[in-house]
Symmetry: C2
Subunit: 636 residues, 2 copies
């Protein structure tokens, strides 16, 4: 048993109650107790209520000389639409390591989007006896990071339209005089942020009065091409009617209507920036260099060109600190950032992982989850997140279920909300064995990064011994370091002790450096093709639009960025119905976009929805507050 | 000097430095020290960082038997566009009472909107040596209440459009079956919230299968008339291009385009609900009965008809707790709610005032600010806020400046951003004396509520002794209890000691009950006319649209609500240029709207902008973070 003072012994009940009932059955430790166990004192964190605290980034500097713990990423096989329990396994593994194997351990999770909580899906805090608590605080508001992203994203959007509006009605000189008004002494000066634009334009003058009329024009007129604007507004609500809108219809906007739209907030580039930044100074730079579109001359226009990079940083300055929470068994969790796993890289933040690695120290474990299947999530973890962080993982876990493997073996379609076919409820070893091609492909892809792979079979009550053995055998044959059956959903950390031991061994036996799938200094197309090949594709096909965009980004000097593929998670290929491990397909690139501030190019393989909708009966019908206790009811 | 342990002695410098420099020159007390002085222990509040805490509503219940302190509202004369220092006076008065007169005191302020912080205006934390600190935290995010309002407001907006969309494509039966799906046992049930709609429809059946086809149709089909929808989306950003937009332009929305728009978040009815609610249970009811528009049959459609009242309450459950902060001199502040002063009632929350009154106890003082001039702010404080709270103020402060009085006396126009005319900088007693008609009218209007009126002259360095005496004399002649010259901007609490003494005497000598301007049980028009008369109007003129709306609200049963006039603050009349105390004008009512959940009808006297814009050079150009210290730069 663990020596930690904050370990909580679970009273496990069968059958497993609902997630909210389990979460509410436990009295969480005051978060200062969890912090204390980590040797954090009150100057290291800010409390947000009793069960959440923001750990300050200064902790990284303070522990600069000390060693890191083991770094483990949790990916999954290609999932069914029901999900295969990756978050749950991440939490369960940590509960095992912390509460049963007496290891220092940290769970690093993404913050879920609040919008979908009121739509179809339930929360994202894990499930059963492997959850982060308080579950309602995890799923709602948290410590306001996504709200800060919404505010910053939309301030930038307002600045874009307003700038176009003001440029349209003013002469160069009037515009310039308004941008550089006289101070109290009557002298015109540049704001600090303006020197960034001056530098970009190659103007090295310190006072507005020194600029020539031509320089005044270059400086003051961004001349944004409205058709080139890629920056959209965001909202953390499932509001399908905002997907495509016409703005500026008011009489005061003088007919400057423009078609644009809203994405859900977690799709904002600012979320990706938050996830990939390494310090406050680095975040300031990334926010400033975000590209919102082009000038009519084809030059990229940045947030700093609009003079807003500093203000965006001010809005995000608290959001950069990750949020400390706890699991059901009292082990520590850092929740931070939740970028989309398609148009962004789908991993929680670098700073949270860095803090966690220092706090657990050598011999401890940081378990971090990557979104979607390992073809996308783990790939981006390695080639984007680890590339920017400089961190090296020792082990990758791949979560598999008998259900998903049967699907890959040729089982009938699995549809959310419909009853499962009997193939999934009765033993069918042949189907499982056939489906293991998917698992094997994920194992070999992941091993190529130079890490040990441990397969975690997230066991359901309907799984048979023979089926489970088939997976184990296939996994070992494919080169897994180990393959372990887990029952953490039903039993908490106790159900993942074997997984914990396997992960520990894998980490201790790992000595290889991280091998990236592609270097950064090859062309955008070569990088895309390297990733496509890892999917099993025989080639890549580019639309005319994609060709044009690649050419543009290359000529703008952005070809050195890593690639973030926006592909379905339901197949290695671009066709969701192609299960198993398809080969020989040609991957179509429909379009190519970029998040320059976050630092990646993202090719679109198919259409990605960036704003979900609400169903006829959203789950908000069930959600209410118990007026007497203040407890949240009906959240699932 | 005060006996409080958290009193901070200010080192006052002349000339007065910038607000942010003064704010940053002081190290705030940890907010738990402020709480401790108030006899609050950690179970009474939730910390949000080191300098903010949310005081839990349970404090009201816990102190139910104990007595209240004195209750003082701060209003102002009709202001210039520069503002006359009402917040600053509110803070300065509290610093005087707490730090110099050894009284228990609480400042209750509105939370400012974050959007305008990045546009033209600076913060709203007071000014000079009378401020709430940390000033950046006060102006940005605070504890997330406005973000919660944005989320809740927009979830409701999404629910409205989505419901219309789903009703358009489904039969009554399909719709009903989706709304009441079978549970695990295969039985269809009503969600709890649905019983509210059933009750409204007069259907007293407990199971979906008992409903007749006609009842099924009545229940499932809200049949919202798109042209009647008054619920708009909100954002806490100055985004003028969202004032009028066309939504639903995406192909998936099947041509169901609709013209609508965004307001700034503080204009949301949910903000008014937050300000007027008295408990969690009361908030649940108010949120549920908010009316979003009518059915095609002309029946009001509520949030609870959409099944969303509970979910909105869940989003708002932390926002209901006011935020504890501190002044520069260490006295306690509660910041809570900031509804518009035109389309809403412009006062901070009832729950904050209630908590504060209990915490200071008998002999202590709660000073709360009302938005705009006293004709609007104090009027709504009395007739709306006090009506709902049941609280009785003992004293009303009216803040005046020589500058504004000169304007009322016939001085040249005062325009923000332009230099002041010399009339405002040199002695001109005659102009001041002529302008005192405005002050006198505010005094007599305010005295009519049965409270003592203390005039606070917020002194500027250019004011002369003779001018100040003229104001004092005029105020006393108009029936003020006292009139006091204050220098709290330059000197902090020390500069408002005389004001503090006057307020104390006024409160101790007050024995009258609160007299409302109008009873609730007269018609909407009679109520409007009572308020118009208090402005000096000889009559009221209704547009056809206003007549129609009054008739509709009366027939819907809403005529018993108080009235919240949406009028300019720059004149007693509807014409901003009519200074002094105009009489004999006819007040035009352009339109009449309602915030049924918040609980008032609001007649529109002129056009009210509910979404500000950004100027050519927004103040975000100056705002940045000091990367080394994390401090916010350039906020003003």
């Amino acid at each position: 048993m663990s020596s930690s003072k904050t370990v909580r012994k679970l009273e496990v009940v069968s059958p497993v109650p609902t997630d909210i009932d389990i979460a509410n059955s436990v009295q969480p430790f005051h978060i200062s107790e969890i912090a204390n166990e980590l040797n954090l004192n009150p100057k290291h964190y800010d409390l947000y209520g009793k069960y959440k605290a923001k750990v300050l980034l200064s902790v990284i500097d303070e522990l600069e000389g000390s060693g890191d713990g083991y770094y483990v990423v949790v990916g999954g096989i290609t999932p069914t639409p029901l999900g295969e329990g990756k978050s749950t396994t991440t939490v369960g593994l940590c509960q095992a390591l912390g509460a049963f194997l007496d290891k220092k351990v940290f769970t690093c999770l993404r913050q879920p989007s609040q919008g979908p909580t009121f739509g179809i899906k339930g929360g994202a805090a894990g499930g059963g006896y492997s959850q982060v608590i308080p579950m309602d605080e995890f799923n709602l508001h948290l410590t306001g990071d996504i709200h800060a992203i919404t505010a910053a994203n939309n301030l930038l959007a307002a600045a874009i339209d307003t700038r176009i509006f003001h440029e349209a009605s003013q002469s160069d000189k009037a515009l310039f005089n308004r941008l550089c008004p006289p101070n109290k002494e009557g002298t015109r000066t540049f704001a600090d942020v303006m020197f960034r634009r001056l530098k970009k334009l190659g103007i090295s003058k310190n006072s507005p009065i020194e600029l020539s009329p031509e320089e005044v024009k270059k400086f003051a007129r961004l001349d944004i091409d409205p058709d080139s604007i890629t920056w959209r507004r965001v909202m953390d609500v499932n509001d399908r009617f905002l997907r495509k809108i016409m703005v500026g219809q008011g009489p005061e906007e003088k007919g400057m209507v423009r078609e644009t739209g809203f994405d859900i907030s977690v799709a904002s580039e600012i979320m990706a920036v938050l996830a990939l930044t390494t310090s406050l100074g680095d975040m300031r730079e990334r926010l400033g260099r975000m590209v919102i579109g082009n000038s009519r001359a084809g030059e990229p226009v940045t947030a700093d060109d609009l003079g807003i990079g500093g203000a965006l940083t001010v809005l995000m300055k608290d959001a950069i600190n990750p949020t400390l929470m706890q699991t059901l068994e009292g082990t520590p969790v850092l929740v931070h950032a939740g970028p989309f796993a398609n148009i962004a890289h789908g991993n929680s933040s670098i700073v949270a992982d860095k803090i966690a690695l220092k706090l657990v120290g050598p011999g401890g474990f940081v378990i971090t989850e990557a979104g979607f299947g390992a073809d996308i999530g783990t790939e981006k973890f390695m080639n984007i997140k680890c590339r920017y962080s400089g961190l090296t993982p020792q082990c990758a876990v791949i979560v598999a279920t008998i259900r998903a493997l049967k699907m890959h073996g040729g089982g009938p379609e699995v549809v959310a909300g419909k009853p499962l076919d009997h193939a999934y409820l009765n033993e069918n070893v042949a189907l499982v064995e056939a489906g293991c091609v998917n698992l094997a492909k994920h194992i070999s892809n992941t091993r190529a990064y130079g890490v040990h792979v441990v397969v975690a079979v997230n066991m359901f009550s309907t799984d048979s011994e023979a089926e489970l053995n088939a997976v184990r055998n296939a996994a070992m044959a494919a080169g897994a370091f180990d393959a372990v059956i887990c029952t953490h959903h039903a039993h908490g950390g106790k159900g993942a002790v074997d997984l914990g031991i396997a992960v520990q061994k894998a980490c201790e036996n790992q000595t290889q450096p991280l091998k990236f799938l592609y270097p950064l200094d090859i062309s955008i197309k070569e990088k895309i093709e390297a990733i496509a090949k890892s999917y099993g594709a025989s080639g890549v096909e580019y639309s005319e639009q994609a060709e044009k965009q690649i050419e543009m980004y290359s000529s703008q000097g952005f070809s050195g960025l890593p690639i973030c593929m926006a592909k379905t998670q339901y197949s290695f290929s671009h066709v969701p119905s192609q299960k198993g491990a398809p080969v020989g397909f040609v991957l179509p690139i429909r379009d190519v976009r970029a998040s320059i501030g976050a630092g990646f190019i993202y090719p679109l393989v198919g259409t990605m929805s960036t704003m979900p909708g609400l169903p006829t009966r959203p789950c908000f019908y069930d959600i209410d507050v118990d007026i007497a206790t203040g407890k949240v009811l009906g959240l699932s």
